[in-house]
């Protein structure tokens, strides 16, 4: 190794890269800003449950709806749309934040 | 079949990977070095009282001096890729002869004394202090490594057990524990300029005898000059070439090649020996001292080139280390590689069609070639990587009609060591040598049985000495061993030039 100091500096820079990329020095860590529904104060489940599990609830219920034709189920993507009327200001915010690309909206309409 | 008081590996169906047999080779002991030799080489005359502290201090010093050692002690993931690659493991089944386990002998001491994890959780990390028992393991198993580097070929991190066994031997020497064979030989080189301790008068006598002998058999005046100032080339060979059979036949070969080429050359009485056992014990100072002696001899004789003979580890030192240890060789002709291997020298003459050859002179031989480990894995011939494989083969094909390759899995880059390298060519280690030779002998046996091979050519003095000794244990006559230049010698036609 000819230039240990330069190599070490390069390694350090590489390791620290995510830190700079994340915007070291900004006062606060960014978090998604959500526009909340105006027509209701509570979701079908507590917010914490929905945050962690909405995808599983929807996925589970979709089989009942498609296969059994039971359209009375509690968790339906069309149900979400009744309160969350602006996808871009609600769904997309968190999905973009976490790098998640759900396929739901390829077929299902959400305003 | 030669008789032995130990079991000879059965190679009838080749050598397969043996089951682990713990402690199978723990009983092997080398003869201890004398106080005189230890002292002469700069080591304590006997084991020092605070040997453990001295050993650990030496280990620490070496880790600071050698990147190889400091890195290799850390990065082994124990993947086991090397576990079935060592000829000593294949021949003995002793798990401490797996390269990774051999390294662990030092690594466990390293962990105990130099790493936080080893100090805190010794047992979980298999850390161990340098106890009397561990030292005994070091003495046994670091002298069952021929430093052939086969393991390093397969290691994903290039870990070379040779580096570790060299360091271990240096640490042991530094506390006054030495091996008689290597230390005695190094002492002889410092005294007389060659391993065998041949005085100048005996050397003169030998060379005169050879001149007469060649004159008698060929009718040509082939010279064996000694200390001839102003010669073009200084030829430096392993000293076994002056006496032993079949080594000496290759020496005659070199002389004939120089004669045919019409290039003046000379031996040196100050440095008549090419071998450098300093490397085997990892002693930088001793290796350097021996190399410098050779560089000085060339300078004193005023030669333009240094050509080296058929020796494996010595060629590694010459090729890889001379320039560093005893360079720069600015008194030599820059148009030739420094040093030049005698095979490179002969090969160049062949390419120029400068040699008259009669291949049929070797018709009684069906020849195969054994790649010696230090030539194959620690040096190069010619300008292209792998030249060390092609050039000796080119020569053999030029001088023999019947040439056969051995299994490439046991040759070339993956060649198995003869079993006698690295300072193990000593009688008390015969069991290690015979068992360690099994993988290579098995490859040889295969071509002997199936393709009628009766001669194995090689370019290493240790290989030649080892095989002539151990082949009879496998029911193969020692006459199967030949030097490459021995076959050149048979074929070369010395007309009027």
């Amino acid at each position: 190794m000819k230039r240990p100091a330069a190599t070490a500096a390069a390694l350090l820079a590489l390791l620290a890269a995510p830190l700079f990329y994340a915007g070291c020095g900004n006062a606060k860590a960014p978090a998604p800003q959500l526009t909340k529904p105006t027509n209701a104060t509570e979701c079908v489940e507590p917010a914490a449950t929905m945050r962690a599990n909405h995808m599983n609830l929807l996925r589970h219920e979709r089989d009942n709806i498609v296969r059994e034709g039971d359209r009375s189920r509690k968790y339906r993507i069309e149900g979400c749309a009744q309160c969350h009327t602006k996808r871009a200001e609600f769904c997309d915010r968190c999905h973009d934040y976490a790098g998640v690309k759900p396929e739901c909206f390829d077929c299902h309409y959400l305003p | 079949m030669a008789k032995a008081d130990f079991e000879i590996p059965d190679i009838k169906n080749g050598v397969s990977v043996p089951a682990v047999k713990p402690g199978a080779m723990a009983h092997v002991k080398y003869h201890p070095a004398s106080e005189a030799h230890l002292t002469k080489l700069g080591f304590p005359a006997k084991r020092v009282d605070n040997w453990k502290e001295v050993a650990l201090a030496k280990m620490n010093e070496l880790m600071g001096k050698y990147k190889s050692l400091s890195l290799f002690l850390d990065v082994c993931v124990k993947c086991g890729a090397c576990a079935d690659k060592c000829h000593y493991y294949l021949g003995t089944g002793d798990p401490n002869n797996m390269p990774v386990a051999r390294q662990e002998l030092m690594r466990k001491v390293y962990r105990k004394n130099f790493t936080l994890g080893g100090k805190l959780f010794g047992g979980l990390a298999r850390a161990e202090d340098l106890t009397e028992e561990v030292l005994r393991e070091w003495m046994a198993y670091f002298h069952q490594c021929s430093q052939c580097r086969r393991c390093s070929v397969f290691c994903p991190f290039g870990i070379d057990t040779a580096e570790i066994s060299m360091a271990a031997r240096e640490i042991m020497d530094s506390i006054g524990i030495g091996q008689k064979y290597t230390l005695e030989i190094i002492a002889k080189v410092h005294d007389t300029g060659n391993n065998l301790g041949i005085p100048k008068d005996a050397l003169i006598g030998t060379l005169e005898f050879l001149e007469e002998d060649v004159k008698e058999t060929t009718g040509v005046d082939v010279k064996f000059p000694l200390d001839q100032k102003g010669a073009e080339v200084m030829l430096i060979v392993p000293s076994a070439d002056f006496f032993s059979s079949p080594h000496v036949d290759s020496l005659v070969g070199y002389a004939k090649v120089f004669h045919a080429a019409g290039i003046s050359y000379t031996f040196s009485s100050h440095a008549s020996e090419f071998a450098n056992f300093g490397m085997f014990i990892g002693s930088y100072d001793n290796t350097k001292k021996i190399a410098t002696r050779i560089a000085d001899a060339g300078r004193d004789l005023g030669v333009k080139r240094i050509v080296v003979g058929e020796c494996g580890h010595a060629y590694r030192v010459a090729y890889s280390f001379w320039n560093t240890l005893a360079g720069p060789f600015d008194y030599l002709d820059k148009n030739h590689s420094v040093p030049t291997h005698v095979c490179e020298f002969t090969d160049e003459l062949l390419r120029r069609n400068a040699l008259k050859l009669d291949k049929s002179a070797n018709d009684e031989f069906t020849v195969t070639y054994h790649d010696s480990c230090n030539v194959a894995r620690a040096s190069r011939m010619g300008t292209e990587p792998g030249g060390q494989f092609e050039i000796p083969r080119n020569i053999l094909k030029a001088v023999c009609n019947k040439y056969v390759e051995m299994d490439p899995e046991a040759n070339r880059e993956k060649t198995f060591c003869c079993g006698g390298g690295g300072g193990l060519l000593s009688d008390e280690l015969l069991e290690v040598r015979v068992k360690g030779a099994a993988p290579k002998v098995s490859a040889l046996k295969e071509v002997m049985d199936n393709q009628g091979v009766n001669t194995m050519a090689m370019i290493c003095a240790i290989c030649k000495a080892q095989f002539t000794k151990v082949l009879p244990y496998y029911d193969i006559p020692m006459e199967a061993v030949a030097g490459v230049h021995q076959l050149v010698s048979n074929a070369i036609q010395l007309g009027d030039k």
Partner: protein, 242 residues
């Protein structure tokens, strides 16, 4: 840092400590390798005679584990699969440390997930290999099994977070970004996440002081990194030159 829950306070402190030990320890190790001299030229030949050749060989070794492939195919399969899957795991996790997430990174998540979820397979294979072949059993210490089991536990807790007890991913990312930007926020008090994070911190601390430094050490190996040109170019021994 005011207003953090006790749990978050503890884990913020642990995370910074582990990161410091990981980065500091690794740097110290690699620095040590970098500055320790090579007194002699010791490439394992046949070896490239040019710098470019050495780089190409190293690249092949890093990308394909070429030397291990030569050494043992069965070990290669397990080791190579493990490392390739680790890359996919890294891709899965990178999005939690980068804001905003680059589009390409978001795009490849489904593929990365498909590969990443296989992580336990090579680990179990590597564990079984150590146990079942007598040679590998002989050389394996509790530490060798331990680190495989630790990574296996990390993998299982991670898969649990994904498939069994899904957590608040946005909350986790917020917490991680807070750590990265030195303005910590509360962490989601999700048991599976706490277990996962704890195991990862353990691995980070263990890393620089174990065989895991091979990840950086592989770039320093003299038998692989040195150019085979001792006759053409005089290799100077740094400590002998002084």
């Amino acid at each position: 840092m005011g207003g953090l829950s006790l749990l978050s306070l503890v884990y913020v402190a642990l995370s910074y400590a582990a990161a410091a030990i990981f980065v500091g320890g690794l740097m110290r190790k690699l620095w040590g390798y970098a500055v320790t001299p090579n007194p002699l030229c010791i490439p394992t030949t046949p070896s490239p005679a040019t710098k470019g050749g050495v780089v190409a060989r190293l690249a092949l070794n890093i990308v394909a584990f070429a030397d291990l492939f030569k050494g043992n195919r069965w070990t290669w399969i397990g080791g190579y699969a493990f490392h390739v899957i680790l890359i996919a795991v890294t891709v899965r996790h990178l999005r939690l440390f980068i804001y905003p997430v680059p589009p390409l990174l978001a795009e490849i998540q489904p593929l990365a997930l498909l590969i990443a979820m296989l992580l336990p397979l090579p680990l179990v294979y590597l564990l079984a290999r150590r146990k079942m072949v007598d040679r590998y059993a002989w050389i394996s210490s509790p530490a060798d099994y331990g680190v495989l089991i630790l990574i296996l536990l990390i993998a299982l807790s991670g898969l649990g977070l994904k498939f069994v007890s899904h957590s608040d991913l946005v909350g986790i990312k917020h917490f991680l970004l807070g750590l990265l930007m030195f303005s910590p926020v509360d962490m989601p008090a999700h048991p599976a996440f706490i277990i996962h994070l704890t195991l990862v911190l353990m691995l980070a601390v263990y890393f620089p002081y174990s065989k895991l430094v091979h990840a950086g050490g592989v770039f320093f190996s003299p038998t692989r990194m040195m150019v085979d040109d001792p006759r053409e170019r005089r290799h100077i021994n740094p400590w002998a030159a002084k």
